[in-house]
């Protein structure tokens, strides 16, 4: 079932989803069944509200409908008969009736946070973490998630049900993780949100346009997270990184879906308000919180986004930021980008020398990106044969059709103009 609700009703529902789910779980304690019940209530609302209007107390309406579904579900399940009786005995009769609009308790702000931590619990597989976050916190339907990830709906349903079984069997409580674990668990939450963002962002135009909704959803959820943890520099850094990256969306692909490299993008198409917001966020967090990898990546994106033309790019500053990033969070991908920045500041030979350090690195052995960067630096250095061979090798190894087309094009240009 897909919702035919307009964007306003859809936004309202997605914002309310974690609040309603949180209140059900706290009341009835059954995350697995409560999550299904909330999905059904969301679907009912998506069908009804656009026609009959949004009720005065939308949260109360959803809570009432979801509670009824949950109780029906508990009742119809004979195997759970005894547990249901115990539950009914524990819950005062008044609890079965949704409160009148005035009596409604204020939304518990922590529910969204708790659900984010729960959905990215380390015992879940990454694919399950993404699916559960989008459904339980984002309020997306299984069908919407399946379309965005280009997998069958049954597969997403399996991932979600498996995730809920894992949560149930490991007895994870519905509460924020204890303080000693919280920083590490927050790191996983941020990683899940960034994966959702990237899944949407790397999709090109055309048939994959649907997937760009994932970028918007990742930004919305990260904003929600930041509202709850305003003092955390990495949360601000991730939000800034998403905004500063997504700001280039309109310029990064042509109408036919082919990729436009950063240096050749039409900067007039960049989203100014996202850039301003991202720059402000990262400037503020760098000045007052502990340095982290998301803030540094956002700072690098900000330097690119602030250059009016590619030639105006402040490469020495980018180089300095990559040196810092390599100290805070070293990885072969960071070193690759570092080599490009070094080449822009001190010439292609310096960059190529740095790449030499990666030749023995198993993590990048045979990776197309190493070949592509080396080809780019060889081209800068005037070694046309070496560059062409590098682009061809990278084109053979990438699994992305637009990247292969781009890399073959670069190799072709070096052949044509001989």
């Amino acid at each position: 079932v897909t919702s035919r609700a307009g964007p306003e009703v859809e936004d309202l529902l997605r914002g309310l989803a974690p609040q309603v789910l949180g209140s059900l779980v706290r009341r009835y304690g059954n995350f697995d069944l409560a999550e299904d019940a909330v999905q059904e209530a969301l679907l009912a609302a998506a069908l009804r509200w656009p026609e009959q209007g949004v009720p005065e107390n939308p949260r109360g309406w959803l809570t009432k409908v979801a509670s009824r579904r949950l109780i029906d579900e508990l009742r119809s399940d004979r195997a759970r008969q005894r547990r249901e009786e115990a539950l009914a005995a524990r819950v005062p009769a008044a609890e079965f009736v949704a409160p009148a609009p005035g009596d409604e308790q204020p939304p518990d702000e922590d529910d969204t946070l708790t659900l984010l931590f729960l959905s990215s619990h380390p015992s879940l597989s990454p694919a399950s973490q993404l699916a559960l976050t989008l459904r339980a916190v984002g309020g997306l339907t299984t069908a919407e998630i399946a379309r965005a990830f280009l997998v069958p709906e049954a597969t997403v349903a399996q991932r979600i049900s498996r995730a809920k079984q894992t949560i149930k069997s490991s007895g994870v409580p519905f509460s924020l993780p204890p303080e000693p674990e919280r920083a590490e668990r927050l790191r996983v939450v941020l990683q899940v949100l960034y994966l959702i963002f990237n899944e949407g962002y790397t999709a090109s135009s055309g048939p994959d346009l649907q997937r760009s909704e994932l970028t918007a959803e990742a930004i919305r959820l990260t904003r929600e997270l930041r509202r709850r943890l305003p003092g955390d520099g990495e949360v601000a850094g991730l939000l800034a990184l998403m905004l500063l990256t997504d700001a280039r969306r309109a310029a990064r692909t042509r109408a036919d879906g082919s990729l436009v490299p950063l240096a050749e993008q039409d900067r007039a198409l960049w989203n100014r308000s996202y850039i301003e917001e991202g720059v402000a966020l990262v400037t503020d967090s760098l000045s007052r919180t502990q340095l982290g990898p998301y803030q540094l990546q956002a700072a690098i994106a900000a330097v690119h986004d602030e250059a009016a033309r590619a030639d105006d790019t402040d490469w020495p500053q980018i180089l300095a930021l990559y040196e810092l990033l390599e100290r805070v969070s070293p990885s072969p991908m960071v070193l690759l980008n570092h080599a490009v920045a070094l080449a822009m500041v001190r010439g292609p030979r310096a960059g190529l020398e740095l790449l030499g350090a990666l030749d023995g690195d198993d993590r990048l052995a045979g990776h197309y990106r190493l070949d592509a960067v080396r080809a780019h630096l060889l081209e800068m250095a005037g070694d046309r044969d070496g560059a062409r061979a590098g682009y061809r090798s990278a084109a053979r190894r990438t699994t992305s059709l637009p990247e292969r087309r781009y890399l073959e094009g670069r190799a072709g240009q070096l052949t044509d103009s001989r």
Binding site: Q158, L259, S400
Partner: protein, 121 residues
């Protein structure tokens, strides 16, 4: 990342098995498909291909289609079926495929599927 697992065997290989081996293969294959469908890594149900003699090969040359009947491959082993995995790495895909009884009886090739997503350089 999505991967396709291509199952190869000799034509008639399945029929050549003893009834006990055939039953074992079938029940193992069912258990295998069930296990990794439940982990959310195996997409859909997978497909077995009919004998290659029932296929056709299409070539268009100079704007004209030429359709020839199968069999078209000289190789002893032919593509017998395929299914799609969605998992984090080719290492994980290969690890899953070691559970496929076809890998024990014959051979299963794992190949990444090209996608239309890409990062600007």
């Amino acid at each position: 990342m999505k991967y396709v697992a291509l199952v190869y065997n000799n034509p008639g290989a399945f029929e050549a098995l003893s009834p006990a081996d055939r039953d074992a293969l079938m029940s193992e294959a069912d258990a295998y498909l069930k296990e990794f469908t439940e982990t959310g890594e195996l997409l859909g149900e997978g497909f077995a291909l009919a004998d290659s003699s029932t296929g056709k090969t299409v070539r268009v040359r100079g704007g004209l289609p030429a359709v020839t009947d199968g069999p078209f491959a000289e190789a002893k082993e032919q593509l017998a079926g395929f299914y799609v995995l969605d998992t984090d790495s080719i290492e994980r895909a290969a690890e899953i495929v070691t559970n496929d009884p076809a890998a024990r009886f014959w051979a299963v090739e794992v190949r990444p599927i090209m996608d239309t997503a890409g990062a600007e350089m």
